[in-house]
Amino acid sequence: MIDLKGISKFYGQKKVVNDVSVSIAKGKVTSFIGPNGAGKSTVLSMVTRLLNHDSGEVLLEGKNILNAPSDALAKKIAILKQSNNMDLKITVRELISFGRFPYSKGRLTQKDNEIIDEAISYMELEDFEERYIDELSGGQRQRVYIAMTIAQDTEYIFLDEPLNNLDMKHSVQIMQILRRLVRERNKTIIIVIHDINFASCYSDNIVAMKDGKIAVSGKKDDVIKKEILEDIYEMDINIECIYGQQICVYFDEHENATVDDFIEDQARA
């Protein structure tokens, strides 16, 4: 369990994260949603000690995260940021191997290699293993980074927009793998995600942020509600139940409505 207790962040005079308090349940998928600039990435960076917070505290299983030794923490929590660009001559396998650094400190054991192989096959990267990462497509590279994070084999996994650049098939695949990690290995997964339907279908809990504050948080069915989402995103949203899942439709209800009608409606509203 991770507890955020009133954390805030200032950039200059601007308070981009404002007194955020929330508990992240263990063994669940928790999704952070909200408009661009809401402060989701900033919160994730502060929770994972990449960024200092200006006030408040983050408790990992009751203990302040800043007091934990850095190398012990790396076996407990892993974070993949929203954008990762590195200008290095490094192969896919070498990069994924870095996920084992907290354990092996650079000297890979047999067990490390097995875990690396497993992460590679999870992300279907077998064909790219020896390729340099700067020779991959955006989506392939994103899968490499996710594989590296999975190879780190931590109890808590934070992924900031993991579906960036991914096609539909791989997006679904990754969400299913995340569910499997929760189900089979009792991992705790925290993601930032923009596709509200992915959030709705695959998470247990949802934290919705707006303007640096938490707008709503709770079980997914308590958050995926018309009024709540309309308020957060400032647009019309309809929610339909399809195959037992709450699905958001951003289109109009009139028969035969075109996209242009919808945009006009929005402008009028």
């Binding site: 000690r49 990449l50 850095s70 790396a74 892993a78 940021k81 001559k89 650094f101 650079g106």
Partner: protein, 319 residues
Amino acid sequence: MHDKKNNRRLIIFAAAALIIAGLYTFYQLNFDILYYQLPSRLNRVATMIIVGIAIALSTVIFQTITKNRILTPSIMGLDSVYLFIQTVIVFVAGARSPLITNDNVNYLVSMIGLVIFTVFVFKYLFKMTGNHVFLLLLIGIILGTFFSSLSTFMQMLINPDDFLVLQSSMFASFNAINEQLLWITAAIVLVMLLIVLKDFHSLDVITLGRDHAINLGVNYDRKVSQLLLIIAVLVSVSTALVGPIMFLGLLVVNLAHEVFKTYKHRYLLIGSSLIAVITLLVGQILTQYVFNQAVEISVIINLVGGVYFIILMLKESRR
């Protein structure tokens, strides 16, 4: 498989360094003055090995931390600070002061001055600029220019005899290095080398950038301060020993990147050290046998390194 090739390259460079060092030591050895000539040549070879290692290590680490391939501690202003220290000594105490004439005292003063400067620039400014590399580099360059202008100004005020003494410290020289200082420097460089090699894996992780490094459990800020201190010591002792060779680090580290094409510090650290030693040896051979001591070794290396620097800048700006 790439590693195998790189291992072979390391062996080739090590062999080349050994052969050239052997050639330099034994070429036209005059047996009548053997007892004088041999130790003096060995002294030079040892100096070149130590300085080569110090400059190569410090530059590799510096470029890994700052994520750039163009700037080095020397270019950042350390060389100008060294000259500034020498100039101030001559300006204030005169050229006959023991601060200049006594090697040991001069070494100590230069080293302390350089370490203080580097720690100030790197640690204090790192904090002030919030690890903002480009801002930091900019300030470094401005400080460098500031100190060299200040030196030039003072040099115009001192008398010509003093200036001649001062001039000799403007160029690095491997001739007649004080043996005692050589051993002290060797000991310091060796200790630093061991510290760096013991933990070269975390340099690999630092290459991935701050966020990845922290995520993987490297205590980034502490590690980087420690490395900056090591850089400061390495550059300071080698500069205090032989004088400044501004473009040596840039030249050898970029050659190492060119040859080894890897992010792995095992190859970068050892490879660039070997290349540095070879470069110095070749430079020294050219100075002694081709130019008959008419040209300083640092002039040769800076000429080659300087041209290379310009090529790198052009390449970088075209990207």
